[in-house]
Symmetry: C2
Subunit: 398 residues, 2 copies
Amino acid sequence: MGKGNLVVGQSGGPTVVINSSLSGVIQEAMAQSAVGEIYGMYRGIRGLLKEEFIDLRRQPAGVVEGLRHTPGAALGTVRYKLSEADYDRILDVLKKHNIRYLHYIGGNDSSDTSWQLARLAASSGYELHVVAVPKTVDNDLVHTDHCPGYPSAARFVAMATRDTGRDTEAMGPESPVKILEVMGRNTGWLTAAAALARQEEGDPPHLVYVPERPVSVEQLLQDVERCYREREYVVIAMSEGAQESAGKTLGEAFAPKEVDTFGHRMKGGVSDFVATLLSGKLGLKVRLDKPNYLQRSLMVCASAVDLEEAFRVGKEAVKQAVGGCAEGIVTLVRAPGPGYHCSLEVVSLAEVANKEKMLPVEFMNEAGNYPTAAFLDYARPLVGALAPPYVRLRRATA
Amino acid sequence: MGKGNLVVGQSGGPTVVINSSLSGVIQEAMAQSAVGEIYGMYRGIRGLLKEEFIDLRRQPAGVVEGLRHTPGAALGTVRYKLSEADYDRILDVLKKHNIRYLHYIGGNDSSDTSWQLARLAASSGYELHVVAVPKTVDNDLVHTDHCPGYPSAARFVAMATRDTGRDTEAMGPESPVKILEVMGRNTGWLTAAAALARQEEGDPPHLVYVPERPVSVEQLLQDVERCYREREYVVIAMSEGAQESAGKTLGEAFAPKEVDTFGHRMKGGVSDFVATLLSGKLGLKVRLDKPNYLQRSLMVCASAVDLEEAFRVGKEAVKQAVGGCAEGIVTLVRAPGPGYHCSLEVVSLAEVANKEKMLPVEFMNEAGNYPTAAFLDYARPLVGALAPPYVRLRRATA
């Protein structure tokens, strides 16, 4: 095939490293003689449909490299479900601009979009190389050791747990319960990372609740009461999707049922519900941290491993596409052995699209309220050390 | 006076640097031959009343130095209002342990406690040197350029605004409004620091609301609508104490009135109220970040200036007490001139206790919705640079 043009888009929620992947795509594309123009879709697949492109080959000096430490999604992102009604238009645009390489950086839904595009091109006899770049803080893509974006968000959660834990310990019985509400949609990968905050026995977090392991209201109350008796404060990491039974949000029954002045049912997060429950049933003052979008954007918490891998994964996608790969998504494959290293492979988009990787059973303890050593061994090299260690005064009375 | 013992306590909300001040107190006390034992009050003034002391002279190696990078309040903290009923007991404990130097690290309420203790000792003819150490993320103590704790929390707010701003910009019209809810009680010092996130014209934050400048619901809606028209997304930094008129929380009228299953009135934060208002009246999707206690605990956001000053202020308090100062609080006095430097002085506790320093009029613009250049000049040296600068792609279409 002669020279073809390349288009790259970003999709779904931003992360601190999604621009590092974009930088990898652009830098590799510039190094490949088979690639002509390098287009960015403005706001994802919608930019492709509307022919809104950003010229990525001709950016001011320093911009492409600077993407490696800039959070957000520099191309703009979108949540848009491609439908068959869009197919003709897509093909027209691809042909008009002689686009032969297509890279979509995103998670589950974006993999499905890439898979649709690959099938569309194949069934139309249009030569197009679609190699997706994985990205999601939820870490729920199958066939990859982990997703770029996850290690950094996990590092935020670990740091936040460690530090708000010290704050809660300092306050003591006055306001002894802290709930950190953690993202992750239907999976508990991100919440489990809170356990990396624990430096010594008894350190926060004390309880970790994930959607994969529903907890009854009775069990929750027992867990919290026991922890409070042990040390007069309790730090809880709780998934935004935590449940008391399949499909039923934890504590929701204790939330107010009234609508706001516009008639909308006010829907608090799970941590609001649980706070209401704990203060009502146990009489303990509960405080909440809901960092929400800071989990996926606070650059100062970025994992060095993540920033580097995100860049490598972006480069690899272009290498694979130019090398002839018709369709696929780049995956990280962890090498066995004591040191941490991941190599890069490609699997078919058909294997990944619309599938969801849940936290495996062996990563949570039997009680379903704390991650296991096996999880910590998995996550620690991704997140990196939380240095330097903190100190605690020896209590021996004077 | 012969050798006397020293006691130090921590009070109110923890910060990332309150332990740095504690480390300064301990290290200076160890260097002063006039100081005998060094006691820590376990959980503030209540520890003094209950004779619960921690032996700070005999800590394991590395602990006292390690306090300089450990968030929380290592002695434990308390909110306890001293009353005259406690006075006899206090005097007994001071005499019994030959305590001649007393250092309380805290904010407004703690200064009042220190002031009571100093008057109690003076009126009883008991020689006691009470030199308080300022601490509050709210920055609302009078007679000091700023309070240790504020620069680091301000740095968190600036970083959070910058990064969640990029996240919001990336999402665009799909969910165009972000509200970052910021601490600070009745003052807007901390919220104003969001403006340090702005690297170039048009960058977040776009609106900054502080308690000192109430904003009507009509004005708020106009502000947000105008910003949205200009760039399709709006990032708002909002004080937890933002008001629509004196004493009336902004947007509260739009919140649900119902009580929870325990009969408590659910009280959302101001950002919940405003989110309800904006989505109801403007039809824009609003997202919230409520980092709450992470603002005062996330060590990775600590300001280098703050960590160092907090340590110096702790040391100075001991020097002053040993040097003969009967009562006072250490203050930071900024030197005029281009470079940033603060020297340390002491003012009487009577001048500081129970007073509150509001954000001055000249630190907010006329519309009351954005800090002025004068504020930025004040805050920038405290918070430090947010490096490296972020990049943005040039939009020129391909």
